[in-house]
């Protein structure tokens, strides 16, 4: 395997890990009842974790 191929393989594995990580995060948040619709700009949901992050940025 050449250097290029190794880089590609490493990149792909990193992508897989990232994908799994995001997936687990989404599922975990959903199970905690904290799933957000990704539409924070328009959302007024009370106690939405994403919104809290956004609000704390404002402060």
């Amino acid at each position: 395997m050449g250097l290029g191929a190794i880089i590609v393989v490493v990149f792909c594995i990193a992508l897989i890990i990232l994908g799994i990580f995001i997936f687990i995060r989404i599922v975990a948040r959903a199970l905690k009842g904290k799933s957000s619709c990704g539409d924070c700009q328009n959302c007024r949901m009370a106690n939405c974790p994403s919104r809290k992050e956004e609000n704390s940025k404002n402060e």
Binding site: G2, L18, G19, I20, F21, C37, Q41, N42, M45, N58
Partner: protein, 673 residues
């Protein structure tokens, strides 16, 4: 920490528009009462203020959730000042809240919005005199055009610095006497309660709002004394009704103020532009055809040549430019075969396949924004109320249902404007049947593959079917679960307004951004996970034949359940499962599983489905449970896990039965001819 300011006003008078102008934030605005259902705080661009945008209320004696949020905020959070925004074209009713806010004894600035509309009507408001009469600074603005916005903050700063509190209002003699007498009874308790002045509590006691005076902890002797005063007060009028009498006193005061400061030049029955539009839009005979026409135009615009053209451009970009770029790199690097499958069949087909729907989603939300901004939504509620009442709903359920065409999550939240709990629960259960924007991707794929000539019509039929199923289920629920309830339907019909291009574009862009974020996170991770599940066997070995994979095994197990519906392949079954995370994932899963995107996916689909089974699959996707985030929202808004589960179970059942019926009836007809 700066000063805390509460932004309060009637529903639909431009609070959120002002909030956005002051803070540079981009909150969602629409032209119907109750857009804002939760408070939101933001910092002003200029000056050192935290402004809290509160839901609109008509009065400080609240019934519905959003009205309580506002009242509790003012009483518990003790803001440094109140900005009361009123609609200049509807000044009398708007000042009713102002009068009650004055009782709270906070520094106040009155902002008279819609001054451009006031001028257009040929009215004039003498703001200087109004300011003298009410004892607070008045700032005339036009929030839509961002006129005079800086002046608002200047005045706020001024009233806080000099603690300018508007003087108590003097009502008619009878009312004033009753208030004074009540005051003498409760004076001791007020000193303990602090913050809020006596006028507020005395007025609340006089009108019989016991919830607001709980903090006073009055004893029975005091309550008895108050009751006696109230009875005497009621006797002094012929209508013997404390609530009506106090409201009347307040309105009398307002009428006097308005008479002195506002010049209206038209006779009350003169036709306004809104009246002229309404002559057609809410006409007895034309209203329903016009409504259907608007819906049809919206959908044909979305699925028409414009959307198709833009989709094609994105598809070319994804397939020809990005995909060939990646495969070029892989070839050069001499990378192993599985990386091709991961990057091209997994990520590019999954994420890229979804991106081709961006134009349609954008156009749909663009149309919905225009409808919301124009004021048509309230008319639609007016037109459909009688009909929806037969289903145990009300016209107010209609707005969430239309919003459901966009996204179920905010639509479920919009049900908060409904005061009746049964009505609200029922609306929440039916909203998911309104086909959301994400499901569009599924229809577009299948209708494009099988019903080329009638694509628009087939997709439109999905929306109609969803509506019909909602009606049927609504009737059923009314007969069984939600028996007999009388809700109220008092709703303001706002004047039509020209949608603000800025607000419409902003709103559309926000939705697109949400869609892109979702494609980058949820859909991306789903594509990877699906790819893994499809390429590894249960014993975690890489397999070449994906029917041996984890997904293949799961899919093969559950596929027989769907065989009677016409789509018993394992790929179709597991795609439904991934649709639980996000509806777009159904399409991206099929893309990953068949290793194809765009036109090539259409080709694969048309070889494994028949037109009938494709239609059946679309119907199932339309009706079965909404995505996780919608489910979580439903759970929260219902306030119970049981209700959310029940509604999910109901939806799956309905989806199965309807799809089964369509497929079996369809095959029967096919066999007959």
């Amino acid at each position: 920490m700066g000063s805390n300011i509460a932004l309060i006003g009637n529903p639909n008078c431009g609070k959120t528009t002002l909030f956005n102008a002051l803070t540079g934030s981009n909150q969602y605005v629409g032209n119907w009462a109750g857009v804002t259902v939760e408070k939101k705080t933001g910092r002003t661009i200029k000056g050192n203020f935290n402004i809290t945008d509160l839901p609109g209320i008509y009065s400080l004696s609240p019934y519905s959730l959003e009205e309580r949020i506002t009242r509790d905020f003012v009483i518990n959070e003790n803001p440094d000042a109140i900005i009361n925004i009123i609609d200049g074209t509807n000044i009398e009713r708007n000042l009713y809240l102002t009068v009650q806010l004055i009782e709270l004894g906070k520094p106040m600035v009155l902002v008279v919005n819609m001054m451009d509309d006031v001028e257009a009507k040929g009215w004039s408001i003498d703001c200087d005199y109004l300011s003298k009469l009410l004892g607070m600074p008045i700032v005339p603005i036009s929030a839509r055009k961002s006129e005079n916005i800086d002046e608002v903050l200047k005045q706020v700063e001024y009233v806080i610095e000099h603690r300018i509190i508007p003087p108590e209002i003097t009502y008619d003699l009878k009312t004033q006497n009753a208030l004074n007498e009540i005051y003498s009874v409760i004076v001791k308790n007020i000193c303990d309660a602090g913050k809020i002045p006596y006028n507020f509590y005395a007025a609340k006691l006089l009108e019989g709002d016991m919830e607001s005076v709980k903090t006073l902890k009055l004893d029975n002797v005091q309550l008895g004394a108050v009751e006696k005063i109230v009875r005497g007060y009621e006797k002094s009028s012929e209508c013997h009704d404390r609530e009506a009498m106090l409201a009347d006193a307040r309105y009398k005061f307002i009428e006097e103020v308005v008479r002195k400061t506002v010049v209206k030049n038209e006779s009350e029955e003169a036709l306004t532009i809104s009246d002229k539009i309404d002559a057609i839009v809410t006409n007895r005979f034309l209203a329903i055809p016009v409504f259907l026409l608007i819906m049809f135009l919206m959908f044909s615009f979305t699925f028409g040549p414009v959307g198709k053209f833009l989709s094609d451009i994105i598809e070319i970009l994804v397939n020809d430019v990005i995909a060939s770029f990646i495969s070029g790199i892989l070839e050069k690097a001499n990378a192993p075969q599985w990386t091709y499958r991961l990057l091209l069949d997994g990520v590019v087909s999954g994420v890229g396949g979804i991106l081709t729907f961006l134009p349609q989603i954008a156009i749909l939300f663009f149309c919905l924004s225009i409808l919301e901004d124009s004021g048509y939504m309230a008319r639609a509620a007016f037109i459909t109320d009688r009909f929806l009442r037969r289903l145990g709903l009300s016209g107010k359920s209609f707005i969430p249902m239309i919003m459901g065409f966009g996204c179920t999550t905010p639509a479920v939240m919009a049900t908060r404007t409904q005061e009746n709990i049964n009505e609200r629960r029922m609306t929440i259960m039916l909203v998911p049947f309104m086909s959301c924007g994400a499901k569009l991707t599924i229809y577009a794929l299948f209708a494009g593959a099988f019903f080329k000539g009638n694509k628009g019509l087939v997709i439109f039929s999905m929306y109609i079917l969803g509506f019909l199923v909602a009606i049927a289920v609504g009737l059923l629920l009314k007969k069984t679960v939600f028996k007999g309830n009388m809700a109220l339907f008092v709703m303001e019909l706002p004047p039509y307004r020209m949608p603000m291009p800025r607000s419409v574009l902003k709103n559309t862009w926000d939705k697109c951004k949400g869609f892109l974020v979702k494609a980058g996170t949820v859909i991306f991770s789903m594509s990877i996970v699906i790819w893994l599940l499809q390429n590894f066997s249960p014993s975690l070995h890489m397999v070449n034949d994906s029917s041996q994979s984890i997904f293949g095994v799961i899919g093969t197990t559950i596929a027989p359940i769907f065989a009677p519906l016409g789509f018993g392949t394992w790929q179709a079954s597991v795609s439904l499962l991934s649709g639980l995370v996000a509806k777009e994932a159904v399409v991206s899963s099929l893309g990953v599983l068949y290793g194809a995107g765009g036109d090539s996916l259409s080709a694969v689909i048309s070889s494994v489905f028949t037109p009938l089974s494709a239609y059946s699959y679309m119907v199932f996707c339309l009706l079965y449970v909404p995505c996780v985030s919608a489910f979580v929202t439903i759970r929260r808004e219902m306030g119970s896990f049981k209700w959310a589960l029940a509604s999910a179970a109901m939806q799956i059942g309905v989806a199965y039965v309807v799809s089964l019926f369509i497929y079996q009836a369809g095959s029967l007809i096919e066999r007959m001819f």
